[in-house]
């Protein structure tokens, strides 16, 4: 038996999310079907975590245990042959016994893309959230530093989430403007449900002048969901990398 780790890039537009669901096509299901085609094994793969419908990934990871004799490094090309164009196995390798994509993860890097223009772009319509109003990028940048560190992010969690401990550490948060594209990058040891999309929504409100960047520390301390910005749409979100 071999433990295999795969790194997956996908355009999430056509899927109900990462996780297998009774209704709707998931990225996980499509990959499991491809594994069945090359190994004959009906197995379950373990992703580093779920991504919602429409969310994309440059570097989602998953592990699975196979009795196949296919060389670990060859899984990527063999699987890609059977996968649709919107899912690609970037690499595959042997993982140590006991290594688990989710439980062994030490942190994650997410990206949120905002496309800032009055007219839509054929290249970003399903791959970035479009904002037509002019944004104060410097205000968005100033707000970033206040998120870095260990805080109780109770106000940055989807209402109704059943998590007891809402303290999380953010290691880095940045905003970079490149033409009409505004890229938010965030790295942390763990994230609450919708946390990245709510941080993106809060930075956006700073850019729109609705929230004063200097008020972010108080806003975090309030722990109130209604004080933070909106949950931005899923299609601007990318899971970039899982750290081990």
């Amino acid at each position: 038996m071999t433990n295999i780790k795969i790194t997956i890039e996908y355009d999430g537009s056509g899927y109900c999310g990462w996780q297998v669901q009774p209704n709707g096509l998931s990225v996980q299901q499509v990959i499991e079907d491809a594994i069945y085609k090359i190994t004959g094994e009906k197995l379950r793969i373990n992703g580093s975590g779920r991504t919602d419908a429409g969310v994309h990934a440059f570097g989602q990871t998953a592990t699975f245990i196979t009795s196949s004799s296919i060389p670990p490094e060859s899984f990527s090309k063999a699987l890609n042959y059977h996968l649709p164009g919107d899912i690609s196995i970037v690499s595959s390798c042997r993982a140590e016994e006991g290594f688990h994509a989710r439980f062994s993860a030490k942190g994650k890097h997410y990206k949120y893309l905002i496309f800032n223009r009055g007219t839509r772009s054929p290249f970003y319509e399903s791959r970035a959230y479009r904002v037509t109003r002019e944004l104060d990028i410097n205000a968005m940048k100033r707000a970033c530093e206040f998120f870095v560190g260990t805080h109780d992010f109770a106000g940055f969690m989807a209402t109704g989430s059943q998590v007891e401990d809402t303290v999380r550490a953010i290691n880095a948060l940045s905003i970079v403007e490149s033409g009409n594209l505004i890229e938010m990058d965030v790295e942390g040891t763990g994230f609450l449900y919708n946390m990245v999309r709510i941080i993106a929504g809060t930075l956006l409100e700073c850019g729109l002048g609705k929230i004063n960047s200097a008020d972010i520390p108080d806003l975090i301390r309030s722990k109130k969901r209604e004080e933070a910005g909106p949950t931005l749409p899923a299609h601007g979100l990318y899971l970039v990398e899982v750290f081990y």
Copy 2:
């Protein structure tokens, strides 16, 4: 009568190219149909030039003369309402009498994208030419300078083209690497048919070690199509901007 200039962004994957053709859907046709829907006029628009099937644009331009009373700046939003997601009118404005998208053009900026990775990407499969072998980026960069200037580019033209004067001026040519993406940008006063894709193919051969960068001057002087590199596929090419 008002002369209107529109700037168009499109993903060319689903089209037979810019120009109206008897068989196949063209970008021009789809825009003319949208103009008919908002003005009731069956008119012909003049593009800055043709783009082949699969070629994309960030900044194609076109002009047309309308008797409609729609404000020139409002054409972009009105047209976008009727256009499919892969075509977007980025802006529209009134142009001076006699201004013509093609005949008034003073130069063009094209981009060619190479995606350099062993495995495909869901995000670039129809938007960049994928090369799996490792490339010597510095060799590609060194080759660029030899193209800049006014040269007889007879060897960088599709075989069978009926052009007498094959002298063209290239004002700038650069290679920038950004992750797995290699971006070639070229600006010139005019280009022969397939010239940008053949330059891209020649730079690629430099990156692969098949052509020595230092031999580019001799290669251009030979004026032989077979001395230059291959014509890279259309789906990596973007018309970025038309200069007036």
